[in-house]
Symmetry: C3
Subunit: 208 residues, 3 copies
Protein backbone atom coordinates (compact mmCIF):
# COMPACT_ATOMS: atom_id res chain seq x y z
CA UNK A 1 0.00 0.00 0.00
CA UNK A 2 2.61 2.50 1.11
CA UNK A 3 4.84 1.35 -1.74
CA UNK A 4 2.08 2.14 -4.23
CA UNK A 5 1.50 5.55 -2.64
CA UNK A 6 5.22 6.29 -2.89
CA UNK A 7 5.17 5.53 -6.61
CA UNK A 8 2.13 7.77 -7.02
CA UNK A 9 4.04 10.48 -5.15
CA UNK A 10 7.05 10.10 -7.44
CA UNK A 11 4.80 10.26 -10.49
CA UNK A 12 3.13 13.43 -9.22
CA UNK A 13 6.50 15.05 -8.50
CA UNK A 14 7.60 14.21 -12.06
CA UNK A 15 4.35 15.68 -13.40
CA UNK A 16 4.85 18.87 -11.43
CA UNK A 17 8.33 19.10 -12.93
CA UNK A 18 6.95 18.68 -16.44
CA UNK A 19 4.18 21.22 -15.86
CA UNK A 20 6.69 23.66 -14.46
CA UNK A 21 9.03 23.13 -17.42
CA UNK A 22 6.29 23.88 -19.94
CA UNK A 23 6.19 27.53 -18.96
CA UNK A 24 9.08 27.93 -21.33
CA UNK A 25 9.28 26.23 -24.72
CA UNK A 26 11.34 23.13 -23.95
CA UNK A 27 11.83 20.06 -26.08
CA UNK A 28 10.67 16.65 -24.94
CA UNK A 29 14.08 15.51 -23.70
CA UNK A 30 14.70 18.57 -21.58
CA UNK A 31 11.22 18.23 -20.17
CA UNK A 32 11.80 14.62 -19.20
CA UNK A 33 15.11 15.59 -17.56
CA UNK A 34 13.33 18.26 -15.52
CA UNK A 35 10.63 15.74 -14.58
CA UNK A 36 13.23 13.23 -13.39
CA UNK A 37 15.20 15.88 -11.47
CA UNK A 38 12.06 17.01 -9.66
CA UNK A 39 10.95 13.47 -8.84
CA UNK A 40 14.21 12.07 -7.51
CA UNK A 41 16.26 15.19 -6.64
CA UNK A 42 15.31 15.43 -2.98
CA UNK A 43 15.78 11.76 -2.19
CA UNK A 44 19.08 11.69 -4.08
CA UNK A 45 20.46 14.57 -2.04
CA UNK A 46 19.30 12.89 1.19
CA UNK A 47 20.98 9.60 0.27
CA UNK A 48 24.22 11.29 -0.83
CA UNK A 49 24.43 13.27 2.43
CA UNK A 50 23.60 10.21 4.57
CA UNK A 51 26.06 8.20 2.43
CA UNK A 52 23.63 5.36 1.72
CA UNK A 53 22.97 3.93 -1.78
CA UNK A 54 20.81 6.27 -3.85
CA UNK A 55 17.23 5.00 -3.65
CA UNK A 56 16.41 4.95 -7.36
CA UNK A 57 19.57 2.94 -8.08
CA UNK A 58 18.47 0.37 -5.49
CA UNK A 59 14.86 0.03 -6.63
CA UNK A 60 14.62 0.85 -10.31
CA UNK A 61 10.81 0.90 -10.23
CA UNK A 62 11.01 4.49 -8.98
CA UNK A 63 13.25 5.42 -11.90
CA UNK A 64 10.81 3.91 -14.42
CA UNK A 65 7.78 5.45 -12.76
CA UNK A 66 9.37 8.90 -12.89
CA UNK A 67 10.39 8.40 -16.52
CA UNK A 68 6.97 7.07 -17.55
CA UNK A 69 5.14 9.83 -15.69
CA UNK A 70 7.27 12.49 -17.39
CA UNK A 71 6.66 11.07 -20.87
CA UNK A 72 2.97 10.51 -20.21
CA UNK A 73 2.56 14.07 -18.98
CA UNK A 74 4.27 15.41 -22.10
CA UNK A 75 2.11 13.32 -24.42
CA UNK A 76 -1.13 13.65 -22.51
CA UNK A 77 -0.69 17.30 -21.59
CA UNK A 78 -4.08 18.27 -23.05
CA UNK A 79 -5.83 15.75 -20.84
CA UNK A 80 -3.81 16.68 -17.77
CA UNK A 81 -4.54 20.36 -18.17
CA UNK A 82 -8.24 19.52 -18.08
CA UNK A 83 -7.86 17.97 -14.62
CA UNK A 84 -8.74 20.35 -11.80
CA UNK A 85 -5.41 22.00 -10.89
CA UNK A 86 -6.08 21.33 -7.23
CA UNK A 87 -6.13 17.60 -7.86
CA UNK A 88 -2.43 17.75 -8.69
CA UNK A 89 -1.78 19.89 -5.63
CA UNK A 90 -3.57 17.37 -3.42
CA UNK A 91 -1.57 14.49 -4.93
CA UNK A 92 1.59 16.53 -4.41
CA UNK A 93 0.57 17.06 -0.76
CA UNK A 94 0.15 13.31 -0.40
CA UNK A 95 3.62 12.68 -1.85
CA UNK A 96 5.16 15.31 0.38
CA UNK A 97 3.51 13.85 3.50
CA UNK A 98 4.68 10.35 2.65
CA UNK A 99 8.24 11.17 1.59
CA UNK A 100 9.01 13.40 4.55
CA UNK A 101 7.87 10.80 7.11
CA UNK A 102 9.73 8.02 5.24
CA UNK A 103 12.90 10.14 5.23
CA UNK A 104 12.52 10.76 8.96
CA UNK A 105 12.21 6.99 9.56
CA UNK A 106 15.27 6.31 7.44
CA UNK A 107 17.36 8.95 9.19
CA UNK A 108 16.29 7.82 12.67
CA UNK A 109 17.08 4.21 11.71
CA UNK A 110 20.64 5.31 10.90
CA UNK A 111 20.95 6.56 14.48
CA UNK A 112 20.74 10.30 13.91
CA UNK A 113 18.88 12.49 16.40
CA UNK A 114 15.35 13.71 15.84
CA UNK A 115 16.26 17.22 14.70
CA UNK A 116 18.47 15.93 11.89
CA UNK A 117 15.69 13.54 10.88
CA UNK A 118 13.13 16.34 10.67
CA UNK A 119 15.53 18.37 8.52
CA UNK A 120 16.12 15.38 6.23
CA UNK A 121 12.36 14.94 5.93
CA UNK A 122 12.01 18.55 4.85
CA UNK A 123 14.96 18.34 2.46
CA UNK A 124 13.68 15.18 0.81
CA UNK A 125 10.31 16.77 0.13
CA UNK A 126 11.44 20.15 -1.15
CA UNK A 127 14.92 19.81 -2.71
CA UNK A 128 13.56 18.32 -5.94
CA UNK A 129 11.24 21.28 -6.36
CA UNK A 130 14.06 23.74 -5.66
CA UNK A 131 16.32 22.11 -8.27
CA UNK A 132 13.39 22.17 -10.73
CA UNK A 133 12.94 25.91 -10.16
CA UNK A 134 16.66 26.62 -10.46
CA UNK A 135 17.20 24.80 -13.77
CA UNK A 136 14.05 26.27 -15.28
CA UNK A 137 15.09 29.75 -14.18
CA UNK A 138 12.17 30.47 -11.88
CA UNK A 139 12.11 31.90 -8.34
CA UNK A 140 12.57 28.89 -6.05
CA UNK A 141 9.72 27.77 -3.84
CA UNK A 142 11.73 29.07 -0.87
CA UNK A 143 10.88 32.52 -2.19
CA UNK A 144 7.14 31.91 -2.16
CA UNK A 145 5.11 32.66 0.93
CA UNK A 146 2.89 29.68 0.34
CA UNK A 147 2.27 27.43 3.33
CA UNK A 148 4.47 24.66 1.91
CA UNK A 149 7.53 23.96 4.09
CA UNK A 150 5.75 24.76 7.34
CA UNK A 151 3.31 21.80 7.32
CA UNK A 152 6.20 19.44 6.58
CA UNK A 153 8.22 20.86 9.48
CA UNK A 154 5.31 20.87 11.93
CA UNK A 155 4.24 17.35 10.96
CA UNK A 156 7.82 16.13 11.24
CA UNK A 157 8.25 17.67 14.68
CA UNK A 158 4.94 16.16 15.82
CA UNK A 159 6.13 12.79 14.54
CA UNK A 160 9.48 12.72 16.33
CA UNK A 161 7.92 14.05 19.54
CA UNK A 162 5.21 11.40 19.74
CA UNK A 163 7.02 8.47 18.16
CA UNK A 164 7.89 7.01 21.58
CA UNK A 165 4.48 7.55 23.09
CA UNK A 166 2.13 6.07 20.54
CA UNK A 167 2.26 2.78 18.61
CA UNK A 168 4.40 3.16 15.51
CA UNK A 169 1.74 2.67 12.78
CA UNK A 170 -0.69 5.00 14.56
CA UNK A 171 1.68 7.94 15.00
CA UNK A 172 3.00 7.41 11.50
CA UNK A 173 -0.42 7.65 9.90
CA UNK A 174 -1.29 10.53 12.17
CA UNK A 175 1.79 12.54 11.20
CA UNK A 176 1.27 11.90 7.50
CA UNK A 177 -2.38 12.82 7.90
CA UNK A 178 -1.46 16.02 9.72
CA UNK A 179 0.94 17.14 6.97
CA UNK A 180 -1.58 16.28 4.28
CA UNK A 181 -4.40 18.04 6.12
CA UNK A 182 -2.37 21.22 6.66
CA UNK A 183 -1.36 21.30 3.00
CA UNK A 184 -4.91 20.53 1.86
CA UNK A 185 -6.30 23.39 3.95
CA UNK A 186 -3.62 25.71 2.57
CA UNK A 187 -4.46 24.64 -1.01
CA UNK A 188 -8.21 24.90 -0.53
CA UNK A 189 -8.17 28.39 1.03
CA UNK A 190 -4.86 29.57 -0.50
CA UNK A 191 -3.37 30.22 2.91
CA UNK A 192 0.05 31.61 3.52
CA UNK A 193 1.97 32.45 6.65
CA UNK A 194 0.91 35.59 8.54
CA UNK A 195 3.02 38.61 7.67
CA UNK A 196 4.50 38.86 11.12
CA UNK A 197 6.27 35.55 10.54
CA UNK A 198 7.91 36.97 7.43
CA UNK A 199 10.69 39.44 6.96
CA UNK A 200 11.77 41.81 4.23
CA UNK A 201 14.44 44.45 4.52
CA UNK A 202 15.63 47.01 2.03
CA UNK A 203 19.38 47.28 1.99
CA UNK A 204 21.05 50.33 0.64
CA UNK A 205 24.25 48.60 -0.33
CA UNK A 206 25.34 45.08 -1.17
CA UNK A 207 26.89 42.90 1.51
CA UNK A 208 27.44 39.19 2.05
CA UNK B 1 44.46 7.72 -27.59
CA UNK B 2 41.12 7.83 -25.80
CA UNK B 3 42.86 9.20 -22.73
CA UNK B 4 44.23 12.07 -24.78
CA UNK B 5 40.81 12.74 -26.30
CA UNK B 6 39.29 12.80 -22.80
CA UNK B 7 41.81 15.44 -21.71
CA UNK B 8 41.01 17.47 -24.82
CA UNK B 9 37.34 17.15 -23.93
CA UNK B 10 37.95 18.36 -20.37
CA UNK B 11 39.98 21.29 -21.70
CA UNK B 12 37.20 22.25 -24.12
CA UNK B 13 34.59 22.05 -21.37
CA UNK B 14 36.75 24.33 -19.20
CA UNK B 15 37.13 26.72 -22.14
CA UNK B 16 33.39 26.81 -22.70
CA UNK B 17 32.99 27.65 -19.03
CA UNK B 18 35.49 30.49 -19.28
CA UNK B 19 33.89 31.85 -22.47
CA UNK B 20 30.48 31.67 -20.83
CA UNK B 21 31.76 33.45 -17.73
CA UNK B 22 33.19 36.33 -19.74
CA UNK B 23 29.72 37.58 -20.66
CA UNK B 24 29.78 39.31 -17.32
CA UNK B 25 32.81 41.10 -15.97
CA UNK B 26 34.41 38.45 -13.74
CA UNK B 27 37.85 38.41 -12.22
CA UNK B 28 40.39 35.77 -13.12
CA UNK B 29 39.76 33.60 -10.07
CA UNK B 30 36.00 33.47 -10.51
CA UNK B 31 36.55 32.66 -14.16
CA UNK B 32 38.86 29.77 -13.32
CA UNK B 33 36.32 28.48 -10.78
CA UNK B 34 33.58 28.56 -13.43
CA UNK B 35 35.92 26.80 -15.88
CA UNK B 36 36.66 24.04 -13.35
CA UNK B 37 32.98 23.63 -12.42
CA UNK B 38 32.02 23.25 -16.06
CA UNK B 39 34.81 20.80 -16.80
CA UNK B 40 34.39 18.42 -13.88
CA UNK B 41 30.83 19.12 -12.63
CA UNK B 42 29.04 16.41 -14.58
CA UNK B 43 31.53 13.66 -13.79
CA UNK B 44 31.62 14.68 -10.14
CA UNK B 45 27.85 14.40 -9.83
CA UNK B 46 27.94 10.99 -11.56
CA UNK B 47 30.63 9.66 -9.22
CA UNK B 48 28.90 11.00 -6.11
CA UNK B 49 25.58 9.39 -7.09
CA UNK B 50 27.23 6.09 -8.01
CA UNK B 51 29.28 6.36 -4.79
CA UNK B 52 32.64 5.75 -6.47
CA UNK B 53 35.75 7.92 -5.91
CA UNK B 54 35.47 11.24 -7.75
CA UNK B 55 37.39 10.92 -11.00
CA UNK B 56 39.52 14.04 -10.74
CA UNK B 57 40.66 13.04 -7.24
CA UNK B 58 41.78 9.68 -8.61
CA UNK B 59 43.62 10.96 -11.67
CA UNK B 60 44.87 14.46 -11.01
CA UNK B 61 45.84 14.99 -14.64
CA UNK B 62 42.23 15.92 -15.35
CA UNK B 63 42.32 18.50 -12.58
CA UNK B 64 45.49 20.08 -13.96
CA UNK B 65 44.24 20.03 -17.53
CA UNK B 66 41.02 21.81 -16.49
CA UNK B 67 42.99 24.34 -14.46
CA UNK B 68 45.53 24.98 -17.21
CA UNK B 69 42.84 25.25 -19.89
CA UNK B 70 40.93 27.80 -17.80
CA UNK B 71 44.02 29.95 -17.20
CA UNK B 72 45.17 29.66 -20.81
CA UNK B 73 41.74 30.68 -22.07
CA UNK B 74 41.75 33.72 -19.80
CA UNK B 75 45.22 34.77 -20.88
CA UNK B 76 44.89 33.87 -24.55
CA UNK B 77 41.32 35.09 -24.93
CA UNK B 78 42.20 37.32 -27.88
CA UNK B 79 43.66 34.38 -29.77
CA UNK B 80 40.77 32.06 -28.85
CA UNK B 81 38.15 34.55 -30.00
CA UNK B 82 39.84 34.55 -33.41
CA UNK B 83 39.26 30.81 -33.77
CA UNK B 84 36.15 29.94 -35.74
CA UNK B 85 33.41 29.60 -33.06
CA UNK B 86 32.30 26.34 -34.60
CA UNK B 87 35.69 24.79 -33.92
CA UNK B 88 34.96 25.03 -30.19
CA UNK B 89 31.48 23.60 -30.74
CA UNK B 90 32.93 20.66 -32.66
CA UNK B 91 35.49 20.01 -29.92
CA UNK B 92 32.68 20.24 -27.36
CA UNK B 93 30.69 17.70 -29.40
CA UNK B 94 33.69 15.40 -29.34
CA UNK B 95 33.99 15.71 -25.57
CA UNK B 96 30.29 15.11 -25.10
CA UNK B 97 30.37 11.99 -27.31
CA UNK B 98 33.34 10.58 -25.45
CA UNK B 99 32.21 11.36 -21.90
CA UNK B 100 28.69 10.06 -22.32
CA UNK B 101 29.85 6.70 -23.71
CA UNK B 102 32.53 6.42 -21.02
CA UNK B 103 29.93 7.12 -18.32
CA UNK B 104 27.65 4.45 -19.80
CA UNK B 105 30.52 1.94 -19.71
CA UNK B 106 31.30 2.83 -16.11
CA UNK B 107 27.66 2.54 -15.00
CA UNK B 108 27.14 -0.78 -16.80
CA UNK B 109 30.36 -2.12 -15.25
CA UNK B 110 28.89 -1.38 -11.80
CA UNK B 111 25.98 -3.66 -12.69
CA UNK B 112 23.26 -1.10 -13.31
CA UNK B 113 20.73 -1.63 -16.10
CA UNK B 114 20.98 0.03 -19.48
CA UNK B 115 18.43 2.77 -18.83
CA UNK B 116 20.29 4.03 -15.78
CA UNK B 117 23.53 3.95 -17.76
CA UNK B 118 22.05 6.06 -20.56
CA UNK B 119 20.80 8.58 -18.00
CA UNK B 120 24.23 8.71 -16.35
CA UNK B 121 25.77 9.28 -19.76
CA UNK B 122 23.47 12.22 -20.34
CA UNK B 123 24.01 13.61 -16.85
CA UNK B 124 27.79 13.41 -17.12
CA UNK B 125 27.77 15.35 -20.38
CA UNK B 126 25.33 18.11 -19.47
CA UNK B 127 25.42 18.66 -15.69
CA UNK B 128 28.64 20.69 -15.86
CA UNK B 129 27.07 23.02 -18.40
CA UNK B 130 23.93 23.39 -16.28
CA UNK B 131 25.94 24.28 -13.18
CA UNK B 132 27.95 26.76 -15.29
CA UNK B 133 24.73 28.44 -16.44
CA UNK B 134 23.26 28.52 -12.93
CA UNK B 135 26.27 30.13 -11.24
CA UNK B 136 26.71 32.67 -14.03
CA UNK B 137 23.02 33.54 -13.87
CA UNK B 138 22.08 32.49 -17.40
CA UNK B 139 19.16 30.39 -18.64
CA UNK B 140 20.33 26.77 -18.39
CA UNK B 141 20.93 24.77 -21.53
CA UNK B 142 17.82 22.75 -20.65
CA UNK B 143 15.88 25.88 -21.60
CA UNK B 144 17.42 26.08 -25.06
CA UNK B 145 15.80 24.26 -27.97
CA UNK B 146 19.18 23.43 -29.43
CA UNK B 147 19.69 19.84 -30.52
CA UNK B 148 22.05 19.13 -27.61
CA UNK B 149 20.68 16.52 -25.20
CA UNK B 150 18.89 14.55 -27.92
CA UNK B 151 22.00 13.29 -29.78
CA UNK B 152 23.50 12.17 -26.46
CA UNK B 153 20.34 10.27 -25.56
CA UNK B 154 19.88 8.72 -29.00
CA UNK B 155 23.55 7.73 -29.21
CA UNK B 156 23.42 6.27 -25.72
CA UNK B 157 20.31 4.24 -26.50
CA UNK B 158 21.90 2.98 -29.72
CA UNK B 159 24.97 1.97 -27.74
CA UNK B 160 23.18 -0.04 -25.03
CA UNK B 161 20.92 -1.70 -27.61
CA UNK B 162 23.74 -2.90 -29.83
CA UNK B 163 26.45 -3.51 -27.21
CA UNK B 164 25.67 -7.26 -27.11
CA UNK B 165 25.42 -7.68 -30.87
CA UNK B 166 28.58 -6.06 -32.16
CA UNK B 167 32.19 -6.34 -30.99
CA UNK B 168 32.85 -3.88 -28.15
CA UNK B 169 35.36 -1.54 -29.84
CA UNK B 170 33.24 -1.35 -33.00
CA UNK B 171 29.94 -0.43 -31.34
CA UNK B 172 31.76 1.96 -29.01
CA UNK B 173 33.33 3.90 -31.85
CA UNK B 174 30.06 3.76 -33.77
CA UNK B 175 28.03 5.22 -30.87
CA UNK B 176 30.58 7.98 -30.26
CA UNK B 177 30.63 8.69 -33.97
CA UNK B 178 26.84 8.85 -34.08
CA UNK B 179 26.64 11.35 -31.21
CA UNK B 180 29.40 13.47 -32.73
CA UNK B 181 27.81 13.34 -36.19
CA UNK B 182 24.38 14.38 -34.90
CA UNK B 183 25.88 17.25 -32.92
CA UNK B 184 28.05 18.29 -35.88
CA UNK B 185 25.05 18.38 -38.20
CA UNK B 186 23.11 20.40 -35.63
CA UNK B 187 26.02 22.85 -35.28
CA UNK B 188 26.60 23.14 -39.01
CA UNK B 189 22.96 23.80 -39.92
CA UNK B 190 21.85 25.22 -36.55
CA UNK B 191 19.19 22.57 -36.16
CA UNK B 192 16.81 22.35 -33.28
CA UNK B 193 14.00 19.96 -32.46
CA UNK B 194 10.77 20.30 -34.47
CA UNK B 195 8.15 22.38 -32.71
CA UNK B 196 5.80 19.44 -32.29
CA UNK B 197 8.32 17.83 -29.95
CA UNK B 198 8.25 20.90 -27.74
CA UNK B 199 5.69 22.24 -25.35
CA UNK B 200 4.82 25.63 -23.93
CA UNK B 201 1.77 26.45 -21.87
CA UNK B 202 0.60 29.74 -20.46
CA UNK B 203 -0.62 29.35 -16.93
CA UNK B 204 -2.90 31.93 -15.42
CA UNK B 205 -1.86 31.29 -11.85
CA UNK B 206 1.13 29.85 -10.06
CA UNK B 207 1.09 26.23 -9.00
CA UNK B 208 3.66 23.66 -7.98
CA UNK C 1 39.68 27.95 20.99
CA UNK C 2 39.63 27.04 17.31
CA UNK C 3 36.48 25.01 17.93
CA UNK C 4 34.78 28.07 19.35
CA UNK C 5 35.93 30.19 16.42
CA UNK C 6 34.54 27.58 14.01
CA UNK C 7 31.14 27.76 15.69
CA UNK C 8 31.26 31.56 15.50
CA UNK C 9 32.08 31.20 11.80
CA UNK C 10 29.13 28.87 11.24
CA UNK C 11 26.84 31.27 13.09
CA UNK C 12 28.04 34.20 10.98
CA UNK C 13 27.53 32.23 7.76
CA UNK C 14 23.97 31.39 8.88
CA UNK C 15 23.39 35.06 9.69
CA UNK C 16 24.64 36.13 6.28
CA UNK C 17 22.20 33.65 4.76
CA UNK C 18 19.32 35.06 6.77
CA UNK C 19 20.25 38.65 5.93
CA UNK C 20 20.51 37.74 2.27
CA UNK C 21 17.14 35.99 2.36
CA UNK C 22 15.42 39.03 3.83
CA UNK C 23 15.82 40.97 0.60
CA UNK C 24 12.71 39.19 -0.51
CA UNK C 25 9.71 38.60 1.71
CA UNK C 26 10.32 35.08 3.01
CA UNK C 27 8.64 33.31 5.87
CA UNK C 28 10.54 32.20 8.94
CA UNK C 29 10.95 28.59 7.81
CA UNK C 30 12.31 29.44 4.40
CA UNK C 31 14.66 31.90 6.04
CA UNK C 32 15.98 29.27 8.43
CA UNK C 33 16.47 26.87 5.53
CA UNK C 34 18.49 29.48 3.66
CA UNK C 35 20.50 30.15 6.81
CA UNK C 36 21.29 26.45 7.23
CA UNK C 37 22.18 26.02 3.54
CA UNK C 38 24.58 28.95 3.69
CA UNK C 39 26.19 27.77 6.91
CA UNK C 40 26.79 24.12 6.06
CA UNK C 41 26.57 24.03 2.24
CA UNK C 42 30.28 24.39 1.51
CA UNK C 43 31.45 21.85 4.05
CA UNK C 44 28.75 19.40 2.98
CA UNK C 45 29.88 19.57 -0.64
CA UNK C 46 33.51 19.08 0.42
CA UNK C 47 32.67 16.01 2.54
CA UNK C 48 30.49 14.47 -0.17
CA UNK C 49 33.22 14.90 -2.79
CA UNK C 50 35.94 13.57 -0.47
CA UNK C 51 33.53 10.76 0.54
CA UNK C 52 33.95 11.30 4.29
CA UNK C 53 31.03 11.58 6.75
CA UNK C 54 29.31 14.95 6.48
CA UNK C 55 30.66 17.16 9.27
CA UNK C 56 27.38 18.36 10.74
CA UNK C 57 26.13 14.77 11.00
CA UNK C 58 29.28 13.86 12.94
CA UNK C 59 29.25 16.79 15.34
CA UNK C 60 25.70 18.00 15.82
CA UNK C 61 26.83 21.13 17.66
CA UNK C 62 27.42 22.77 14.29
CA UNK C 63 23.88 21.91 13.22
CA UNK C 64 22.40 23.44 16.37
CA UNK C 65 24.59 26.53 16.18
CA UNK C 66 23.50 27.15 12.58
CA UNK C 67 19.86 26.58 13.48
CA UNK C 68 20.02 28.81 16.57
CA UNK C 69 21.89 31.55 14.71
CA UNK C 70 19.28 31.55 11.94
CA UNK C 71 16.36 31.78 14.38
CA UNK C 72 18.09 34.40 16.50
CA UNK C 73 18.84 36.52 13.45
CA UNK C 74 15.21 36.34 12.37
CA UNK C 75 13.93 37.30 15.81
CA UNK C 76 16.61 39.84 16.63
CA UNK C 77 16.79 41.36 13.17
CA UNK C 78 16.23 44.91 14.46
CA UNK C 79 19.17 44.60 16.80
CA UNK C 80 21.40 42.99 14.18
CA UNK C 81 20.65 45.70 11.64
CA UNK C 82 21.92 48.23 14.17
CA UNK C 83 25.32 46.54 14.29
CA UNK C 84 27.89 48.15 12.01
CA UNK C 85 27.56 46.19 8.72
CA UNK C 86 31.33 45.82 8.59
CA UNK C 87 31.31 43.89 11.85
CA UNK C 88 29.45 41.08 10.10
CA UNK C 89 31.86 41.26 7.17
CA UNK C 90 34.84 40.99 9.51
CA UNK C 91 33.28 37.99 11.29
CA UNK C 92 32.58 36.45 7.89
CA UNK C 93 36.24 37.02 6.95
CA UNK C 94 37.25 35.23 10.13
CA UNK C 95 35.02 32.27 9.30
CA UNK C 96 36.32 32.12 5.76
CA UNK C 97 39.96 32.19 6.93
CA UNK C 98 39.35 29.43 9.44
CA UNK C 99 37.23 27.12 7.28
CA UNK C 100 39.49 27.28 4.25
CA UNK C 101 42.62 26.38 6.22
CA UNK C 102 40.76 23.61 8.08
CA UNK C 103 39.55 22.18 4.77
CA UNK C 104 43.10 22.26 3.42
CA UNK C 105 44.33 20.37 6.49
CA UNK C 106 41.57 17.79 6.10
CA UNK C 107 42.24 17.27 2.39
CA UNK C 108 46.02 16.98 2.91
CA UNK C 109 45.44 14.49 5.73
CA UNK C 110 43.50 12.31 3.27
CA UNK C 111 46.62 12.20 1.10
CA UNK C 112 45.59 14.54 -1.69
CA UNK C 113 48.13 16.90 -3.23
CA UNK C 114 48.41 20.54 -2.32
CA UNK C 115 46.55 21.91 -5.35
CA UNK C 116 43.46 19.83 -4.61
CA UNK C 117 43.63 20.93 -0.98
CA UNK C 118 43.72 24.60 -1.94
CA UNK C 119 40.72 24.10 -4.21
CA UNK C 120 38.82 22.30 -1.43
CA UNK C 121 39.65 25.18 0.90
CA UNK C 122 38.17 27.62 -1.57
CA UNK C 123 35.12 25.46 -2.23
CA UNK C 124 34.37 25.00 1.46
CA UNK C 125 34.44 28.75 2.04
CA UNK C 126 32.39 29.90 -0.93
CA UNK C 127 30.00 27.09 -1.96
CA UNK C 128 27.52 27.86 0.83
CA UNK C 129 27.32 31.47 -0.32
CA UNK C 130 26.84 30.42 -3.94
CA UNK C 131 23.99 28.06 -3.02
CA UNK C 132 22.46 30.87 -0.92
CA UNK C 133 22.57 33.22 -3.91
CA UNK C 134 21.15 30.61 -6.29
CA UNK C 135 18.13 29.66 -4.15
CA UNK C 136 17.34 33.30 -3.34
CA UNK C 137 17.59 34.19 -7.02
CA UNK C 138 20.45 36.64 -6.75
CA UNK C 139 23.60 36.94 -8.88
CA UNK C 140 26.12 34.57 -7.30
CA UNK C 141 29.18 35.91 -5.56
CA UNK C 142 31.25 34.55 -8.45
CA UNK C 143 29.71 37.36 -10.49
CA UNK C 144 30.88 40.07 -8.12
CA UNK C 145 34.25 41.69 -8.57
CA UNK C 146 34.75 41.93 -4.85
CA UNK C 147 38.11 40.74 -3.52
CA UNK C 148 36.57 37.62 -1.96
CA UNK C 149 37.87 34.42 -3.53
CA UNK C 150 41.33 35.82 -4.19
CA UNK C 151 42.44 36.17 -0.54
CA UNK C 152 41.29 32.62 0.14
CA UNK C 153 43.26 31.31 -2.83
CA UNK C 154 46.39 33.33 -2.07
CA UNK C 155 46.30 32.41 1.62
CA UNK C 156 45.77 28.76 0.74
CA UNK C 157 48.68 28.74 -1.69
CA UNK C 158 50.91 30.44 0.89
CA UNK C 159 49.89 27.79 3.42
CA UNK C 160 50.64 24.74 1.28
CA UNK C 161 53.93 26.27 0.09
CA UNK C 162 55.26 26.99 3.56
CA UNK C 163 53.72 24.11 5.51
CA UNK C 164 56.93 22.10 5.29
CA UNK C 165 59.25 24.97 6.15
CA UNK C 166 57.70 26.45 9.25
CA UNK C 167 56.33 24.81 12.42
CA UNK C 168 52.73 23.75 11.89
CA UNK C 169 50.97 26.06 14.38
CA UNK C 170 52.97 29.06 13.20
CA UNK C 171 52.29 28.70 9.48
CA UNK C 172 48.67 27.83 10.21
CA UNK C 173 48.06 31.00 12.19
CA UNK C 174 50.02 32.97 9.62
CA UNK C 175 47.94 31.72 6.71
CA UNK C 176 44.66 32.35 8.52
CA UNK C 177 45.93 35.78 9.49
CA UNK C 178 46.91 36.52 5.89
CA UNK C 179 43.47 35.59 4.55
CA UNK C 180 41.74 37.59 7.26
CA UNK C 181 44.02 40.59 6.72
CA UNK C 182 43.49 40.61 2.94
CA UNK C 183 39.72 40.38 3.40
CA UNK C 184 39.75 43.03 6.12
CA UNK C 185 41.68 45.42 3.89
CA UNK C 186 39.27 44.74 1.05
CA UNK C 187 36.28 45.36 3.33
CA UNK C 188 37.76 48.51 4.86
CA UNK C 189 38.70 50.16 1.55
CA UNK C 190 36.15 48.34 -0.65
CA UNK C 191 38.87 46.95 -2.88
CA UNK C 192 38.25 44.84 -5.90
CA UNK C 193 40.59 43.27 -8.42
CA UNK C 194 42.20 45.58 -10.99
CA UNK C 195 40.32 45.68 -14.27
CA UNK C 196 43.15 44.06 -16.17
CA UNK C 197 42.61 40.87 -14.19
CA UNK C 198 38.99 40.79 -15.31
CA UNK C 199 37.40 39.95 -18.59
CA UNK C 200 34.15 40.80 -20.32
CA UNK C 201 33.30 40.03 -23.90
CA UNK C 202 30.23 40.87 -25.91
CA UNK C 203 29.13 37.94 -28.00
CA UNK C 204 26.90 38.48 -30.96
CA UNK C 205 25.40 35.01 -30.90
CA UNK C 206 24.86 32.30 -28.33
CA UNK C 207 27.30 29.45 -28.08
CA UNK C 208 28.23 26.83 -25.52
Amino acid sequence: MEYVLAQVGIAVFAMSGVLSATRQRLDIFSIVVVGLLTAVGGGTLRDVILDVPVFWLVDLTTFWVAMAASFTTFIGIRFILKLPPRLLSYLDAMGVALFSIQAIDQTLALGYPAAVAVLMGLMTSIAGGIVRDVVTNRPTLLLSREFYATPILLGGILYVLLIQLLPYPVIRLMAMGAIFAMRAIAIRWQLCLPLRLTLKIDFGEENH
